[in-house]
């Protein structure tokens, strides 16, 4: 075991996978000499050369479209989209091409690849460096979507993503890069794509969260514990495929569900979890499945007071939990 930052865990996974499999290539903007705008690919250009760590032109659709072709012809691309806010020009390549390649060719072709991208707010990134994009992409059959919240999961899930047979969107909350640390097992290990993890047990309600919101939810659980409210906190980890079993089992224990995400609530990913609980766990419920999401504004505003107003804090989560427990 070693204590690692979130960012280092991702970096180590990339380095180890590049060393393990000569078919792996990294492509994206500034991923080469600079080592990425956050430093995630630092040193990989020097270690593996410019043919395998590719500084691409500034064109996101190109990054994903070229990765698809590379994958079809025997490489294992790991694409980086510099900020999740900039992924949308590649939406068509992800939705219409990568996610459908296997289905539309009835297994004649596949294009395994990883798309890594930093998302999320709280870093003074404003409207175009703070977005949560998971709802758009988790909607797509054929794509897998993972959001790690611990350094160990960041490493293990990324290794699983690189070795997967299908395209995987791997979301990294940028505020966690240098603020979240944790124990990472030594040596080569993977964390399977799919299963959720119960991070804290409790009897009074279940909080479902991922990424940074998992940490904020654990913070809320601490606040609530002081008042005698025991919250169970479930790290969803994989949005597609979704581990409905773990979610329903947790609700069966607590009878109350609070789903937390930074993305705005309307049509957000929380709706999928809430609907699953309502449809399949109705009998265990003592209160309506409840969502806490970002405000219904187009994106995260810049200036400190209005950014703070947007972001979901342990206090906001605790307030929503109290209301739910009192229902």
């Amino acid at each position: 075991m070693a204590d690692k930052r979130f960012l280092d865990a991702i970096h180590d996974a990339l380095h180890e996978e590049m060393a393990r499999d000569p078919a792996t290539v990294i492509l994206g903007e500034d991923v080469g000499r600079k080592g990425g705008v956050f430093g995630v690919t630092d040193g990989l250009y020097e270690a593996f050369g410019e043919a395998r760590v590719i500084d691409t032109p500034l064109a996101e659709s190109m990054i994903i479209g070229v990765a698809i072709g590379m994958s079809v012809n025997g490489l294992r691309p790991i694409a980086e989209i510099q900020f999740a806010d900039f992924i949308h020009p590649a939406f068509d390549q992800i939705l219409s091409e990568a996610a459908r390649m296997r289905y539309r060719s009835r297994n004649g072709f596949q294009c395994p690849m990883v798309i890594r991208t930093p998302y999320g707010g709280g870093v003074h990134g404003a409207l175009y460096h703070s977005q949560s994009i998971e709802a758009f992409y988790a909607h797509i059959p054929g794509l897998k979507v993972v959001v790690p919240s611990t350094p160990a999961d960041a490493k293990g899930l990324l290794k699983s993503a690189v070795r997967d047979h299908d395209p995987v969107l791997y979301l990294e909350h940028k505020k966690m890069y240098r603020s979240v640390r944790g124990e990472v097992p030594d040596g080569d290990f993977t964390v399977p794509i799919g299963p959720a993890a119960v991070r804290r047990s409790g009897r009074d309600l279940s909080i479902f969260a991922y990424g940074l919101m998992l940490h904020e939810s654990l913070g809320a659980a601490e606040l609530l514990a002081r008042e005698g409210i025991e919250a169970e906190v479930v790290d969803v980890r994989t949005l597609r495929p979704l581990d409905t079993k773990t979610i329903l089992e947790s609700v069966a224990r607590t009878s109350r569900a609070l789903i937390v995400h930074e993305d705005n609530r309307f049509g957000g990913f929380g709706a999928e979890i809430a609907a699953t609980i309502a449809e399949e766990g109705f009998k265990s419920l003592d209160a309506p499945p409840t969502r806490l999401g970002g405000p219904e504004v187009p994106a995260v505003p810049f200036s400190a007071p209005i950014e703070e107003w947007f972001m979901i804090s342990p206090e906001k989560i605790a307030a929503a939990a109290r209301k739910l427990v009192a229902y």
Partner: protein
């Protein structure tokens, strides 16, 4: 025709790069085969057996000339919806085109999942294609990048219409291919119309090939009614790609002899004069006349080719019509990898 025949590479006389008589006749065979297959596709649609047709009529000379320059076994084709002649040359027999046309279970491109015209075949290195145009240009660049770093010696040819060149993905693909000097050939089969929109409303230049300068690659425009002119240009592009000199933008001007698709009526937006002019450019007739003049195509030879094609098209239709439709129970399969399935 046995699959072996499609793989036979022609003898090309070394001195001028001019194909020998056998090669010319093989080209002519594919030109006529593609036309006959295409006409049968329409017949199947008009008789209510097929839901939709998108046609390659008029584009055959461009496709035969270009694909003939490839190593058809080793190289990649990333086609588009008019690539009937191209996929036939890459090894798909007429029966497979009709299986696609009828949405049959054994359709090798998609098992009846995609609309007709969305060609793909993993064994023949024909990449599966979608309906949004120009997305495939990036896939071709990626395939070529992989070929280059893996040292496979493969060349990738991708095809599109001139309307596709207005898309961002076209620009992004040529830019990336230019930067990395990739072994890829971007073929634009310019028929002057993107469904109904004429070229002059699509771009402010007369030739798409003029854009090549912006990507650091040669741009060439040839007349698609003249198969040998296309072949000569494509050979140069393949030699460049194979020799590590990088990509080529090859524009081939072709006539569009049919409506955009079976859901379109081109008389609404094309004049009778324009349609008559297109028919005069028909590559099948132009190439036949050329071969007759050279003495390569005799009346007997021509009849023999026609009879062979008739048999193949009839047999292909029979096979496809008899084939089963997909079972809805299989429609959920292959969204994701299935460990026990063969690929």
């Amino acid at each position: 025709m046995s699959p072996k025949d499609t793989k036979t590479q022609p003898r090309v006389s070394r001195d001028k790069g001019e194909p020998a008589a056998a090669a010319l006749l093989e080209m002519y065979y594919y030109l006529c085969l593609a036309r006959a297959v295409d006409e049968r596709m329409w017949a199947l649609q008009r008789s209510g057996k097929a839901a939709f047709v998108i046609s390659g009529q008029g584009h055959e000379g461009a496709q035969v000339g270009a694909v003939y320059a490839l190593d058809r076994e080793r190289d990649w084709l990333v086609p588009f919806y008019r690539s009937v002649a191209a996929v036939l040359m890459k090894g798909m027999p007429p029966a497979e085109i009709f299986l696609i046309q009828l949405g049959k279970d054994t359709d090798p491109s998609s098992g009846g999942r995609q609309m007709p015209g969305h060609y793909g075949h993993s064994r023949h290195k024909i990449l599966s294609t979608s309906s949004p145009v120009a997305t495939q240009c990036l896939h071709a660049a990626g395939i070529a990048y992989a070929a280059k770093v893996r040292g496979t010696g493969e060349v990738c040819l991708t095809a599109m219409g001139e309307g596709s060149t207005s898309e961002g993905d076209f620009h992004e693909a040529l830019n990336f291919a230019g930067v990395h000097r990739l072994p890829v050939i971007f073929v634009v089969e310019n028929n002057g119309f993107a469904i109904s929109v004429p070229q002059k409303k699509q771009m402010a230049v007369d030739n798409v090939s003029a854009r090549a300068a912006g990507y650091g690659m040669p741009g060439v425009t040839v007349n698609g009614s003249h198969v040998l002119e296309v072949y000569a240009a494509a050979r140069q592009a393949v030699a460049r790609a194979r020799g590590g000199e990088g990509p080529t933008l090859l524009e081939i001007k072709v006539p569009r002899l049919t409506a955009h698709s079976s859901d379109d009526r081109q008389e609404r937006y094309r004049t009778p004069e324009d349609l008559a002019h297109a028919r005069a450019q028909d590559p099948v007739h132009v190439f036949a006349a050329e071969l007759r003049e050279r003495g390569v195509l005799t009346p007997d030879g021509e009849q023999e080719i026609r009879a062979r094609i008739q048999r193949e098209v009839d047999m292909g239709t029979e096979i496809a019509e008899a084939a089963p439709l997909p079972d809805p129970a299989t429609a959920t399969r292959f969204v994701y990898f299935e460990p026990d399935a063969e690929r």
